[in-house]
Amino acid sequence: MRGKGLLVYAVLYLAFLYVPVLFLPLFSFNASVFIAFPLSGFTTQWYAQMAADGAMLRALGNSLEVGAAAAAISTLLGLLAAKALTRYRVPGGGAILALTSLPLFIPDIVLGIALLIALTAAGVPLSLVTVIAGHCLICVPFAITVLISRFEGFDKSLEEASLDLGENGWITFWRVTFPLALPGIVSSLLLTFVVSFDEFLIAYFLAGDDATLPIYIWGQLRFPYKLPSVLALGALILVASAVLVVLAEWVRSHGLKARRHAMVGA
């Protein structure tokens, strides 16, 4: 029966997606260094070990810092680009959009090496700042895409109406454009933060001595006794991501509602 086959496929697919991920919190409470069944008892010692691991926490802090900066910068740049491309007659607008989207199609390893060569040649010292710059390159296309679809979702005569009613461009932005684009701005911030947070290749080439979390974890995989505390951290990040996803979904559906209002009568 076709319906049954589809159901089996769907279950297998979801299992493949979620079961390995769920092993993370499971084994993070397992009282054994070895990740294997049967489970040998409940412990929170890995969380304690993680909390005491200064290098890991520093890497986490670095990643949060880089992610927040890359998200803020790329969303701001994306906002300006999306506003320009959807609201003004920009000569060569299509070409500009295509050119800024290029990092989506260049393999990150190529981009990472190219940036490393260029920055080294220019004498720029490698640090978290160079990672942020590199991450902005790959985050901006996501930000532009999310924000353009948001801008296209509401009638541009709303902004004209504000001008017509006596507000200048700047006040119009704060009273009309920003509140209407807010769901898109939040989506963009979340998306670009996640893209930066788990990015490995570019960070690996551009980080210098300051490891971000993916680089640090990759380095720890050689030491089996450190793995459980990585699992503990992974479990916490998982919970944080779940919260973010729920938050983003809530913002999105909220945004859809506002967008429906904006589209009515258009």
């Binding site: 509401f154 004209e160 001008l163 017509d164 009273r175 209002h261 009515v264």
Partner: protein, 328 residues
């Protein structure tokens, strides 16, 4: 009444190679209900948006009360606009939509509420202040847009196809209401429409536009009775055209279908009924005439005994003053 209240002085604008507005000259009087009428793409909306300040003319100037406003941004112009989509702010309720343009006036809270309530009453939406745009019908949204613009007490109210989004019955009711509203507030209304009936029934004067040019500016009656060119005659209502010499006029001549009468015995021209459309109080006939490709359209009031059938031989007649002579 100053004839020079709103003056459009040789204004032109191109979009690429397309001439959107071509050397437009207009003078609109204070308190006038003025229509820009034409098919889509004729430049009427571009002209309206130039008055509002959303488009900048390449050449020419716009004056309000003798003051040149050509280079003023929209937020500093003495006009307000009702957008075709109404552009009700979806993140604000009706009250805040109407109060939007009053922020700069720095009114006391009670004064602000009074002004907004007054505007709501003017468009008969008392008690709707707390609603959001999705809780309003199309007609109500249009009233909110009107109230939001009128609460600013503009010198000129611009309306872009204000009734276009409404269904036919509501549109007819709003035509009358809009007209009454305009008379009561005494503000100059400039509105854009492609609907000739709407323009004829509402306006003091109409500018007919085509291909970016203003063809004729006149009162509805004059526009209908004395069109100044074939294009206007064709666009406003039905018209029969006669080539030079066909009905004894040296140039191109035109007669409205309802200005021609039919008779069985005598008249100026003989023909045969080719088609009949019975419309209740009147009938539309197509009359085939020898040596003329197009049948002549005749609209006749129906009485108990004047019905004609296809194939009937009829005589057509008309008054000499019903003939409009047009430039070729």
């Amino acid at each position: 009444m100053s004839d020079d209240f709103l003056r459009i002085d040789h204004v032109s604008k191109h979009f690429g190679v397309v001439s959107a507005v071509d050397d437009a000259v207009l003078s609109i009087a204070r308190g006038e209900f003025f229509a820009l009428l034409g098919p889509s793409g004729c430049g009427k909306t571009t002209l309206l948006r130039m008055i509002a300040g959303f488009e900048h003319p390449e050449t020419g100037d716009i004056f309000v009360e003798g003051q040149r406003i050509t280079d003023l941004p929209p937020n500093l112009r003495p006009s307000n606009m009702v957008f075709q989509s109404y552009a009700i702010f979806p993140h604000l309720d009706v009250f805040d939509n109407i109060a939007y343009g009053l922020r700069k006036a720095r009114l006391a809270k009670t004064e602000l509420a009074r002004r907004v309530d007054e505007a709501l009453a003017m468009v008969r939406l008392e008690g709707f202040g707390g609603r959001t745009s999705d809780q309003l019908s199309g007609g109500q949204r249009q009233r909110v847009a009107l109230a939001r613009a009128l609460v600013k007490r503009p010198k000129v109210l611009l309306l872009d196809e204000p009734l276009g989004a409404l269904d036919k019955r509501l549109r007819e009711a709003m035509q009358i209401e809009l007209r009454q509203l305009q008379k009561s507030v005494g503000i100059t209304f400039v509105f854009v429409t492609h609907d000739q009936e709407e323009a004829l029934s509402m306006s003091d004067r109409i500018a007919v536009m085509s291909g970016g040019r203003i063809l004729q500016v006149a009162s509805p009656r004059e526009l209908y009775e004395r069109p100044n060119c074939r294009e206007v005659a064709d666009f406003i209502g039905e018209m029969n055209f006669f080539a030079a010499g066909e009905i004894g006029v040296a140039g191109l001549a035109a007669i409205r279908p309802e200005k021609i009468s039919l008779s069985r015995d005598s008249g100026r021209m003989r023909g045969a009924i080719a088609s009949v459309a019975y419309l209740g109080e009147r009938s539309h006939y197509g009359v085939a005439v020898a040596e003329r490709a197009e049948p002549i359209a005749v609209a006749a009031q129906n009485t108990a005994r004047n019905g004609f059938a296809v194939g009937d031989t009829v005589w057509l007649s008309w008054d000499a003053e019903s003939v409009v002579v047009l430039p070729d």
